[in-house]
């Protein structure tokens, strides 16, 4: 357990009568990579802007190292931001961009020069001092934006979808770069993204948000393997989400078929949501599994095949390295450990609407 570095207490924010954040409570520990993950409009960027000081919450407090900084302007905060579209100063060269914050805080010339060298090395762009931002590729500009932020030695680096504008290959490279930089710098990264893969790859902790509410906080493994509700299950990775009835402990009925599972404590005949990851659906010869079905779609995805199997009048998404052609009769079985049972949402507020993302 690290120390609480920043804490958000009862934060609410309203735009044009629409509540973007509602009574948000969250804290960030030192030296962690934390990701705010959610679809657009879930309030993740607003949360980041409140942390950076670009936005004032309508209610609530921002506590930094035990001090209330809610009304402090951005230039007085010990954190720096890397913006989505880089936001470099196009009228200055790379060295001047990186030196911007240091010059304002009145650092000595030699200190600034050393820092520029160090920062460019950190982001693998040695020798770029005299170049202009326009002459750099998107990925390079983003590295400069990171360099410009970290030379000020912030305790926290805020990153607002920094890889959003980059192509896939570069994005994956930068993910590893960011993890390396975070470990070298030993500071807290707070990262905002809508890309679940990015979040799973880099984070120590993921905060899944939707419609201004925190849906789940946990390690990437927790979030993927034990989603707390249908929204999280659907948002992180592919999944089959079926309505089911928990007949008794360790027995769940889906579309009239009984599946053994490992969950207990839901009581008798309780309606629940059942999540089964597509890679956990096992196909076999007809009659060999729990229920029989017919393959209705087949796509080759490279690492595996993705199939849709119609069983009990429902489409089951299946990922397997073995191919079953369309029209083939198969059986479906699921390891009890791989069946995730979730309570149905109780209130309107908790209702996690599944958005198209």
């Amino acid at each position: 357990m690290g120390n609480k570095l920043i804490e958000l207490q009862h934060i609410s924010k309203i735009y044009d009568g629409h509540k973007v954040l509602d009574d948000l409570n969250l804290y960030f520990n030192e030296n962690k990579f934390l990701t705010l993950l959610g679809p657009s409009g879930c309030g993740k960027t607003t949360t980041l802007r409140i942390l950076g000081g670009f936005e004032m919450p309508d209610e609530g407090h921002v506590i930094f190292s035990g001090e209330d900084i809610t009304s402090l302007p951005p230039n007085k905060r010990q954190l720096n931001t890397v913006f989505q579209k880089y936001a470099l100063f196009t009228h200055m060269n790379i060295a001047e961009n990186i030196a911007f914050g240091l010059k304002i805080s009145g650092k000595s010339k030699t200190y600034i020069e050393d820092k520029i060298k160090y920062a460019l090395k950190l982001v693998n762009l040695d020798g770029y001092e005299k170049r202009m931002p326009d002459s750099l590729s998107g990925g390079q500009q983003q590295r400069i934006a990171i360099a410009r932020a970290i030379v000020n030695e912030p305790k926290v680096l805020l990153l607002d979808e920094p890889l959003g504008a980059l192509d896939l290959k570069l994005r994956q490279e930068m993910q590893y770069e960011l993890i390396r930089m975070k470990n070298e710098l030993g500071i807290t990264f707070i990262y905002v993204t809508h890309d679940q893969e990015e979040a799973l790859t880099m984070s120590d902790t993921i905060v899944v948000m939707n419609q201004g509410y925190i849906q789940q906080i946990g390690t990437p493994e927790d979030i993927y393997n034990e989603p707390t509700n249908a929204f999280v299950a659907d948002f992180i990775g592919d999944s089959n989400i079926f309505p089911g009835i928990m007949l008794e402990d360790k027995v769940v009925e889906i579309f009239g078929v009984i599946f053994p599972c490992v969950d207990t404590g839901f009581g008798h005949n309780r309606p629940v949501d059942v999540v089964i990851r597509p890679e956990d659906v096992e196909l076999g010869a007809p009659g060999a599994g729990t229920v029989d079905g017919v393959v209705s779609h087949l796509i080759f995805k490279g690492v595996h095949y993705e199939m849709e199997v119609t069983a009990c009048g429902q489409e089951w998404l299946v990922q397997s390295t073995r191919m079953y052609p369309v029209g083939e009769h198969v059986s479906i079985s699921v390891d009890p450990f791989n069946i995730q049972i979730m309570n149905k949402p109780e209130s309107e507020d908790e209702e996690a609407v599944v958005l198209d993302v």
Binding site: F54, P73, T81, A87, F89, H91, I104, A149
Partner: protein, 269 residues
Amino acid sequence: MYKKSLSCPFLIWAAAFIIIPLLFIMYYGLTDKSGSFTMANLMAVATAEHSKALFLSLGLSLLSTVICLILAYPLALILSGSRLGKSGFVIFLFILPMWMNFLLRTLAWVVLLDTNGVLDTILKFFGLKGMKIINTPAAIVFGMVYDFLPFMILPIYNVVSKIDVNVINAARDLGANSFQTLYKVIFPLSLPGVVSGITMVFVPSLTTFVISTLLGGGKILLIGNVIEQEFMKGTSWHIGSGLSLVLMLFIIVSMILSSKYDHGEGNVL
């Protein structure tokens, strides 16, 4: 080929009304009445009367450009800062006078500034000493600023409003206060608009003769008036053309200076 043929009407227009007249001016400017080559028409600017008019023109244009800049820059900042619908209406207010005829707007100032005019009467009504602004250089500057202010505001507004909010946020984030953000980031980024605005105010101010005729009462001669008189009062087309060429030189120099800073973004009009 298709595209080239489309530009034909304009090319004919340009040849007939821009290039050929320009050649005529050059011909008249560089010859005397007998048609032989001379530099005397260009040198005519050196006479006391002409050079006084030229320097007065330069001075008044410079002054009105500076006043326009001082008025326009903060306004452009405020307009671009209020990002929501309101700015549209304020901009409309500034463009509105531009739709009205230039002569009408200048004539309105004659009525306002005249002795026993509107301003004078109001001041006298409150027991103050009446102001005699009409027929002074101040009245001409008044007219220039009023007529050309929108040409300063629009290019600056156009550039400033295109500056990414996050670039300004980044400056704040890196520790700059509002003033540092203004002079280290916003102002340098808005330079193309400023230069464009300066050109669009300075050049028409330098060449105007209507404003000086109406608000200067014919007593204050700008270089534009001198040239007009050479042509209209029939004194000498040759000297008029020679002076025009000299004036053109000043305009070309100011255009070259501005194009060094202007990367095209500020050209809105």
